[in-house]
Point group: C2
């Protein structure tokens, strides 16, 4: 489990990141009430709302909405998984749900930086690509999210104004 | 706006779908309270929680979590956007957020079937690829989701048992 402590103290910026770096989040346990509450608001389908009705469906029993798994993954990344100085700001990515999240599952997110690309037009920032595997307590993958994130440089966070005129990169 | 009525009456199955078919959802208006409530639970970062703090960030003001936009998109698809007989069951897809969702935005989802592929191993179902554009009241795209969905055939819904032994396709 990643040490969280003071977020500012261990915050990482673009210069601190490289392909192959790995992180892991704390746990989140999901229960039937959470699954039904999320589904009632955002994904009101029988397999997410009603355990009995779910038995006759493709899921074979109550399952969390994939978007609920995605939302919990984000919570875990923000709270403990990815200690990024500028916060976790995604422009998009690829998502898949190889198996459902079930009531009682304890989810943890395992992240690996796949790529770090400084911006050509904006010297105060860059993009990273991160593979995030959300696993249940059996180690089974319930979601894979390949996310593209915007990450500022140290200098941008400490002194450079937003939308500054381009200038040579620091290092 | 798509007519909803009795979902069973206008439900579409694999045989009913073809590339180029278009659908649109009803509207959902998001407010500051919804944005902050979702963020507090799933994406607790300053630009989603605090309008003042958000001004100094990349977003320049309060913005909804991308996962909130995704969850509202799912709600709109389920309630009115995609009248699929087997429900909306996604295996994954590609997602991007070209611009933020803001307090007061009214979102609508415009969907187009891009591809229909019968399953080779499971004659009772197939996969479709659907492009879903979530737009605000100005027609600006706040999310693009290219979703891969599992869709049953008519026959599977009416008579075939689940996990039936493969048999020749009906048509």
């Amino acid at each position: 489990m990643v040490e969280t402590g003071n977020p500012a103290a261990n915050a990482l910026f673009l210069e601190d990141l490289h392909a192959g770096q790995r992180f892991s989040s704390g746990p989140h346990t999901i229960d039937e009430a959470q699954i039904k509450e999320f589904a009632a608001q955002f994904d009101p389908q029988p397999f997410h709302l009603d355990g009995e009705a779910a038995k006759a469906t493709l899921f074979g029993g109550l399952a969390a909405s994939g978007w609920h798994t995605a939302a919990i993954t984000m919570k875990l990344l923000v709270e403990s998984g990815l200690p990024l100085g500028g916060g976790i700001i995604g422009s998009g990515g690829e998502i898949s749900w190889p198996r459902p999240t079930r009531p009682g599952d304890t989810l943890t997110v395992f992240s690996e930086i796949e790529d770090v690309t400084p911006s050509r037009s904006r010297p105060d920032r860059g993009m990273i690509r991160v593979r995030n595997e959300t696993r249940n307590q059996h180690g089974e993958i319930v979601q894979i999210l390949i996310a593209k994130l915007v990450v500022p440089r140290h200098s941008a966070a400490s002194s450079a104004p937003r939308d500054a005129v381009p200038h040579p990169a620091e290092s």
